[in-house]
Structure formats: structure tokens, C-alpha cells
Symmetry: C2
Subunit: 329 residues, 2 copies
């Protein structure tokens, strides 16, 4: 049985995983999920990326939005607003609240996030083993100009300020410049139980078309994970989240700029580097980038990379696995 | 301006207070609320009696049930059940959850329950000052036969077990014998800020037709409160929650038996005692009890005591205030 490890962010990672399960129904898939976008809201621990993977693979996702629960209602959020309690810019629905209530209660009782995630997955049966990258608290912060906050909260002073990733991404919609992206706490975080073991036992490691900075990049920032992948001696294949010089979804260009990487499929491959990445799939639109990526020592091929439907996504997964076999051979 | 202090439980206390506000619109009313039925559910702090008073006076109550929010939905509860997380016997709705989330978050940030209650009331504007009896944790437990639990959770052993009041009242619907009612923690609890001051400055103290054991009795169990009322030197007038040898609502007979008091308007008056109570209103049905209560040194009168509508309730409040004037004179 093929053992596949996938480093996943939110929507892109979750949808790719659905294609991968379809492409490799017998594979043993371990997902290492990003927890850098976790946030405490209303005293509750919210793990957007883990939940997006869990709901998507478990059949509980809002298919249209790509995040949150299907058939969702918002009574709790409306009541919190009536109490004047915020933030209101983060859209927590009633069904979703239940997940955060269960998680927070379990963590309050002393269970680590990995055990809580396993318990939640006992209901959702995602068909993969979902592990948080770490049980330690890591929060991705984004450095922005305080002037860019002026309109929203009256801050007048000049300078820069670090805001939580969710505040940058959801509240500000990544509409202002990001000067730096810092996974606070990552430097002292330890990989969650099972993470390094899964990598060591993997036959293939895949980077789905997730955000290379705030999703895959944050996972790789946990000491030990990047090294374990580089030393595993198995094919590491990624899929570009950038198609034709723009992110397929989300606002990855903003955070790529913050780390000095241009928004192109080739630049993202070089950002990961040949020390980590063996193979890289770019979209057909970016066929012109293939030669440059291969010059950087990374096998590259142009294939359709738009996850327009389940079959198209499964084809992408098959291409990634085929490239892994080529790397191995 | 007349200063009135009311010791209130849940539904009965809340409805009486609505009548009192109507009967004495210019009065300065302080409500000392029972917190012995507070319970932690799903990691959240739930204060059923305080919330019933707040929602009822603030226009947010489910009028039919008498507790919980109007227009309520139950998405969170259904999801918690889907996770297999209980208890399911306590009916928390989505709107209600928001109250408990705000409360729990504030308490987690270090605010005492009295400050949290004030903050919640800033939204509801109940028109009274609502104080919890104490900021300390007090939980009313009920001693029952373990055999009575056998059907529900498989307990086989003989003996007695203390269950949380809500488990007795809501889950078991007070259908089994109560051998004792213990307000755990009351002995070391301190009255919340403002409680003793409000009593000391009161012109009248009223006991609404709330449960004399688990509502008013629990408030009186906080050291200092009973003494402050007895020493205030102002009229203390109560309204019988028992009409015709049965509780008007709820299952007060069960917990009265546990403290050795028979279920009658006269027995409840004697239970409070002339050292505490100056006046007592019984229902017309119980006119025969008036003489006995007066023999016990408590002024007594029979008047209609069914809170069938707002006007009937206001009349009850006017009768209580009139009796207070007679006591004073």
C-alpha cells in the first residue's frame, strides 16, 4: 500500500486531497495540516485549515464557499453582535461553532490538538489521517503599515504593526502590502506526534496547490519537518498554486511579495528549492516556465492545474503521483 | 424613590418581577439572583436563573416555555450530538449559546460573574439591577438513590449519590425522591459586591413565588445574606409558590420533602420563619391557612396568586407592597 504524506493548507489542499483519494483509493494518506492560521475567537479555539480539510473530506463542507459548514446558520454570530462582542469579520456559523466548542472543551480538559483532531475526525471519517503540524501554539502574523489600518480603527501613528493572519486575510482581504510574514512560535514548536514518523515512512510527499508561504511554508517552519522531508529519500512533488502569474484562488501574491518571491509558478518552485522539491507541476498556461524550473534541478511538467471538478482534480493527483514514479525511477 | 430588593429564582421570580416593575414603575429594584443552579456545559458557564430574569425583563424570553430565548434554533446542540458530546438533556439553543460564550470568555479574562452579569444586562436593559447572590462557585446538588439512576446509566450498586440540581430537575424531572439538597460551596461563598449594601439600603425585601428550597433557600444559604435581611429592619414579605398543596409550577414538593417541609403555603411560611419573614401572601384557595401563619407571628392574607397574565401579576406585586406598608405601620 502506497503511503502518501500531504502538507495541506485550507481550501486548495482540501480539494486536492479529495482528488487524491479518488486517484489513489487504496493509498494510506497522512495529511499534515497547517495550524498557523488558528485563532482564538470568543474564547474558542478555531482551526480553519484543519476544519476545511475535515469538512471537505467528510462531506460537511459548504461547497460553494469552500470553507465552513453546509446548510449553515448564523444565530450565534448575530447574538454576539447584539452583545457588541466581536470580531464580526470572521464568519463563524452555528454548526461550525459546535466544532470549536468541542475542541475548546477537550483542550481545556488537557488533550493536545492532535488528540482533539483525531476525536473530531472520528465523526467525519475523512478517509485520511489528519495531523496538525504541531500541538504547540503557532500563529502566523503579518506585518503591515499602521497607516493601512487608519480607516478601520482610527490608528493614526506611522509605523508598522503585526496583525494575526486572519485579520490580514479575512478582515483586510489582503488588500494592503504585507512586509513580512512571521509564524510566531514556530521556532520553538515541535512536530505533533506522528508527523515525523509519517514522513519517515512515506513513499511520496506531495505539496498540493496550497499557499507556499502561509500554508505549506508555515508547516515547513516547524523545526524538523523540512529536514525530515529532505532526508526521507522519497520523491517530493508539488503542484503550483500560481497559474499565469496569479494565484488560482486567494491572495497569495501579497504574501509571496512579503518573502521576496515573485508571483509565478517557476519562482515558487525555486522558493521551495531543489534541496526539498524533486518534481513540480505547472499549469499548461505556464509551459514556458518548465525549462527554467528544470534548470534549477527540479523535474517539471505542464499539465492542466485547474481544480474545476472532481475528475480534473483527480487527474492532477494522478499526474503528481506519476511524476513521483518518474523521480523514483 | 422606593428601594426594593427581590430574591429571585428563575421563571416564577422573573414573571413576578415583571409584575413588580409594572406595579412600581418608579421603584429602584435590585434583584439578588440564585446561582446555585449554574452549571458548566460544554466548557461554558451557564446561569439559568440569572438568564431567565434577564431575558424575561429584557424582552428576549421564550414566553411559552418561560425560559430560553424567543425565536430559538438548535443547530449547535444538534451538531454537538452528532459529535457524540453531551449532555443532550439540557436544552441550550443557538441564541442562548451566545450568552454563555460571552459570559465564559469574560470570566476566562478574569471578570467576576457580577461584572459579567452587568455587561450582559447592558444589552438587555432589564430595568432592575441584577446581582448574582455570589461571585463564588456554588452548585446545588441533590442526593438521590443510585437505584433511581439504574435505568438511565446502568448504575447497579445500592446507595445514594449527589447529582447536580439540573440533572435532578431537568434530566430526571424530579421524578425520584430527593433525600437532601446541598448548596455545595455556599458555606464559604461571599455575597457578591452590592448585595449586602442593597439589602442594607432597602425599604422592602420581597420573596417572589420562587422555589423556597433551591431558589430563595440557596440565596439565603450564602453567609451574611439571611442575617442582613433579618437585621435590615424593613418589611420582608413573601408570596407563596404553593397553591392548594401543590407547587404552582415546577416540582417544589420534591425538594420541600427533602428538607422536611410539607407542601403547603403555611408550611413554607413557617420554614422561612418569623425571624426572617414579616408578611406572607397565600392564594385565596389557602384562606384557611391564614390564621395558622399569623399564629406563627407572620402577618398573612389570602389574595389571588396565579400569575395568569401581566395584570394579575402586577396586582400580586401591589398586594405584597401594600402588606409591606402595613408591616411598617
Amino acid at each position: 500500500m502506497q503511503r502518501i504524506v500531504v502538507l495541506a493548507g485550507g481550501i486548495g489542499g482540501a480539494r486536492f486531497l479529495r482528488g487524491l483519494k479518488s486517484a489513489a483509493p487504496d493509498a494510506d494518506i497522512t495529511v499534515i495540516g497547517n495550524t498557523g492560521d488558528d485563532i482564538h475567537l470568543f474564547g474558542l479555539k478555531v482551526c480553519p485549515d484543519l476544519d476545511t480539510v475535515m469538512y471537505t473530506l467528510g462531506g460537511g463542507i459548504d461547497e460553494e464557499k469552500g470553507w465552513g459548514r453546509d446548510g449553515e446558520s448564523f444565530a450565534v454570530k448575530e447574538e454576539l453582535a447584539a452583545y457588541g462582542v466581536g470580531p464580526q469579520w470572521f464568519g463563524l456559523g452555528d454548526r461550525d461553532f459546535a466544532t470549536h466548542i468541542v475542541r475548546t472543551q477537550m483542550m481545556g480538559a488537557g488533550y493536545p490538538l492532535s488528540a482533539v483532531t483525531e476525536a473530531l475526525c472520528a465523526r467525519w471519517q475523512p478517509g485520511v489521517r489528519l495531523l496538525p503540524m504541531t500541538d504547540d501554539r503557532v500563529e502566523t502574523h503579518v506585518l503591515i503599515d499602521t497607516a493601512d489600518l487608519a480607516g478601520s480603527d482610527g490608528a493614526e501613528e506611522q509605523g508598522r504593526k503585526a496583525v494575526h493572519f486572519q485579520e490580514y486575510w479575512v478582515r483586510l482581504r489582503a488588500s494592503v502590502d504585507a512586509h513580512a510574514v512571521v509564524p510566531v512560535g514556530a521556532d520553538t514548536a515541535k512536530p505533533a506526534p506522528g508527523v515525523l514518523e509519517a514522513i519517515a515512512e512515506a513513499d511520496v510527499v506531495l505539496f498540493p496547490p496550497s499557499n507556499p508561504v502561509v500554508s505549506v511554508g508555515t508547516i515547513l517552519a516547524v523545526p524538523g519537518i523540512r529536514e525530515a522531508i529532505a532526508e526521507a529519500g522519497v520523491p517530493v512533488v508539488g503542484l503550483s498554486p500560481i497559474v499565469g502569474d496569479a494565484p488560482v484562488r486567494g491572495m497569495a501574491d501579497k504574501v509571496l511579495a512579503a518573502v521576496g518571491v515573485e508571483t509565478s509558478a517557476a519562482a515558487v518552485a525555486r522558493h521551495y528549492g531543489s534541496g526539498l522539491l524533486d518534481g513540480w507541476l505547472v499549469d499548461e498556461t505556464d509551459a514556458g516556465a518548465v525549462a527554467g524550473v528544470e534548470e534549477a534541478g527540479i523535474r517539471c511538467r505542464a499539465v492542466p492545474l485547474m481544480m474545476t471538478d472532481a475528475e480534473a482534480t483527480a487527474r492532477m493527483a494522478r499526474e503528481a503521483l506519476r511524476m513521483a514514479e518518474e523521480v523514483r525511477a
